[in-house]
Amino acid sequence: MNWDLLFQLVVNGIIVGALYGVVAMSFVLIYKASQVVNFAQGEFLLIGAWACWWLLTTYQMPFVWGFLITLAFMMAFGVILQIVVLRPMIGEPIISVIMVTIGLSIFFQALMKWMFGVFAKPFPPIFETQSVSVFGLQVQTVYLMSLIISVIIMAGFGYFFKFSKMGLAMRATAFNQQVAQSLGISVRNVFALSWAISAMVSAVAGVVVGTVNGVSSALSFFGIKVFPAVILGGLDSIVGAVIGGLIVGLLENVAHFFDSQFLNWGNMYEIAPFYVLIIILMIKPYGLFGTKDIERV
């Protein structure tokens, strides 16, 4: 047993898992508010990362400004997407809504490849020190920052839903659209806002991953990794999304460890979450924290 490697991988797992958790939260946000499953979540990361990269390299902006403009752009993008594409789909069967987001996902992925090419491009360096030592372990600064940002976003979500007026309106809409509407909540605004926030938060995750690995289409794989995370945690639970993300991140890395030490199969890292996904769906289909919907006829 190589304990150092295991420890390193567990730390990596928590950091990556926190990012999965952030993306899973933005996925759950859309699902909770508007009952839409967004298969294009990974493309939100991709678009956000490319937008920030473009601002930083083409206009030589300082990182803070480029980042803020990216967030504003992604907010507008989320709202426009919701109004133009998702609003006509209200009331359509779930298959159609899923397919529309799948269509969006391939469209934007191809568009990004067309505009920026297929090869990964490195982000301009943001921090002066490359890595810091934590408990005798070299951790990249970006990773440490990403963990901090993830925790801030998670706390922000918690505050938003618990105390802010709009957050309460969102929870009410998620609970019962008709009642919420009759209480004077604009359901349309809630839908649009949930897409805007989701796009913004995904873009943050996209920029963080982009600064570590460079920006490329591989980023959108985060959108697929989100599914094991949200199913594990329960589709409509924000807390579940965070915990599911952490579990998937840890699982990947621990599977990678066992693979490299004992099995030597090759790509357990990529595939292990999907085996777990199937097992979870078989034994506990609504996940750890999901609401089991009971249908009355």
Binding site: M89, M99, G103, P228, N267, Y275, M282
Partner: protein, 355 residues
Amino acid sequence: MTTLIPCGDFKTNYSADTTIFPTATSRNMVILGIAVLCLAPLVMDRYLLSLLIQIGYLGIAALGLNILVGFTGQISIGHAAFFGFGAFSSAWLVSNFNVPVFFAIPLAGVMTTAVGMVFGLPAARLKGLYLAIATLAAQFILQDFFARASWFSGGVAGTLTEPFSIFGFTFDTDESYFYVVLAYVVVMYILGTNLMRTRDGRALVAVRDHYLSAEMMGINLTKYRTLSFGISAFYAGIGGALYAHYLQFVSVEGFTILFSIQFLGMIIIGGLGSIMGSLMGTAFMVLLPESMQWLTDALAGSAIDRALDLSNSLAFLREMAIGAVIILFLIFEPDGLAHRWHQVKAYWKLYPFSH
């Protein structure tokens, strides 16, 4: 049988209601259509013929997906993986057990059915979105299996397979293989049409329309949900096997999630829950990238070409077109081409009155 149906529903018994061909003319038109298709190899060049063959084997798989999605109401995002499994298992049967290709194709369908049922097991408990994600997992697990199991699929190198042959005659050209695919398309589409006229087929539709009512009427939900996965995988397997013996080479890279989404695109464009729509949608989806190629060739050297660098970005433009077409159809034409075709027919039948 008369040659015209009166306007309105005047059917008095069940057999008249569920008949495949309502009039003698419609039956004769189908027979004529197949006869004309039989002449295609004589007049078409190899390129057009290869497109027709593609429409054939993809259309079979698309019909399978339509039975699952359109008729039973369960979404699957892993159809390409089952298509690939059919291709690999047919090649595996031929090369390892010396099974003649003639028998290997249906056997590959049976093997794929078994795999489809296994991955369809979550369908016994899940529906809608949860199921979609379970099939997503199936897609990745099978893809990983193809890459790793070199005893089965030849690993990353892919596997070679033999051409279709019967009674010593080998169908190794486009002209001859066209007839094999055509025969399979006719048989599989007749099977599909007839399935929907049986008790089992109607049970599938009942599961889609209202699963609780269906269960109360005594339909075993678990059985029919798993069954529809099996049927859909069977069609995918047959389609995949035909593909394997057409190209005579199967490689792992082909069966990605994008391909699965293309299958979903085919049935959405053609029309969910329409047998002929599956074929129309497949034709649309096969011809769409080709027509973009033609468009690019036509625009070569023009200002648009220079501005967008069409020839180098064609691959991306094709992918974008697939995504855009799926979105546009869902927003503006959710019932697909089959619905539009019905409207055209109704227009001519009812002319000059619109109702």
